[in-house]
């Protein structure tokens, strides 16, 4: 084996190791977005999809733009919308759990400034697996217009 081949092998090994390290991450966050606010509006919502590879739970979310960040659940019954904080959101293994305006969502309370359309809002998402190991995921959530419609077709809900 030539020295070059040897180096190539090492390089390949290292990159595979990199992939393995990446694959061991328990959860991924995709499609994160926040709703833009109007001046003086002290809170807004953040939405995302969280997928964990083992049974886990979404523990908390933090953001430098809000003093308090909470996970809330919205439920609808007889056209009454009910809202309230939850301790965590279950993340069954392999299931893409959506935090959207129709269910769980993140409340950004006491905003330090107005959120404008196109802003990249930093969020730290903390997930805990069944062994109690915590993972923090940093994401940038894009601010969408206040009147952004959900991609979900409500007519298919019933």
């Amino acid at each position: 084996m030539t020295a070059v081949q040897h180096l190539k092998r090492i390089a390949l090994g290292l990159s595979l190791l990199g992939l393995a390290a990446h694959a061991s991450a328990q959860a991924v966050v995709t499609d994160a977005w926040v709703r833009a606010s109007v001046p003086g509006q002290p809170s807004s919502g953040a939405f995302m999809t969280v997928t964990a590879d083992t049974d886990s739970k979404l523990l908390s979310v933090a953001s430098p733009i809000a003093k308090t960040v909470q996970i809330h659940e919205m439920t609808m019954k007889d056209d009454v919308m009910r809202m309230g904080p939850v301790d965590s959101v279950p993340l069954p293994a392999g299931k893409a759990v959506k935090l959207d305006p129709d269910g769980y969502h993140v409340m950004l309370i006491d905003l330090s400034a107005q959120i404008k359309e196109g802003d990249q809002v930093p969020l730290t998402v903390t997930v805990e697996n069944a062994k109690g190991e915590k993972q923090s995921i940093e994401v940038k959530a894009e601010a969408r217009a206040l009147n952004a419609m959900e991609t979900m077709d409500h007519s298919k809900m019933h």
Binding site: R35, V38, P39, G40, Q41, P42, S43, S44, G45, T68, Q70, H72, M74, M76, D79, V80, M81, R82, M83, G84, P85, P101, D102, H105, M107, I109, D110, A145, L146, N147, A148, M149, E150, D153, H154, S155, M157, H158
Partner: protein
């Protein structure tokens, strides 16, 4: 008019309108809605008296000649309120020229935090024609009761959020309550039912 309404539908609609003109328009006490709930026999929301964001006193008769769509909410509402207002803005567009008669009226259930300035910027972000109403907590409670709106404060950290009824109430141009639209309907479904309300004269 959007492509959502096919040519055939437009033609059928025009035909129906023609029939309506021949037969005299629909002023029956009950209406047939495809998606929403007929509220023609309900006596609700007739005497509310609140203020718009310019500080003017507003009652139901202020909207005579328009089709008011009344929705109760609060600006810090992350989900159902922006979704409902965005859907109404979309329905208004789908209705084409008829959409001009539709007047969305957003009544705050959170008058302690929703100042006229915040309310005005909020509703206008959806459509410049939308109007927001506010009052003292007591005046809001009276208006909400008149519409059978349930609402309550839910503590959230040092702050609070609100649970509330998410129905939109639609009056015809003469101020008679006609239609209740559930939060689960989409813009096209709302637009179809709103056009049915407009057949009343």
């Amino acid at each position: 008019m959007s492509t959502l309404f096919t040519r055939r539908k437009v033609l059928t609609g025009m035909g129906m309108l023609g029939l309506g003109l021949l037969a005299g328009c629909d002023n029956s006490p009950k209406l047939n809605f495809k998606y929403g709930k007929d509220l023609s026999d309900k006596i609700m929301g007739r005497t509310f008296k609140l203020k718009n964001t310019d500080g003017e006193t507003v009652t139901l008769s202020s909207f005579r000649g328009l089709m008011p769509v009344v929705f109760f909410g609060f600006t810090q509402c992350p989900a159902v309120c922006p979704t409902t207002l965005a859907r109404m803005a979309q329905a208004k567009k789908l209705m084409g020229r008829d959409g001009k008669i539709m007047q969305v009226v957003f009544i705050t259930l959170d008058p302690e935090r929703d100042t006229p300035k915040i309310l005005d910027a909020y509703v206008k972000a959806f459509d410049p024609s939308f109007e927001a109403l506010y009052g003292t907590p007591e005046e809001i409670a009276v208006a909400a009761k008149e519409f059978g709106i349930f609402y309550e404060k839910i503590p959230a950290g040092d702050s609070y959020t609100l649970s509330h009824t998410a129905t939109s109430f639609v009056f015809d141009t003469r101020g008679t309550l006609r239609l209740g639209l559930s939060a689960s309907l989409n813009a096209k479904e709302c637009a179809e039912d709103l056009l049915t309300v407009m057949e009343v004269c």
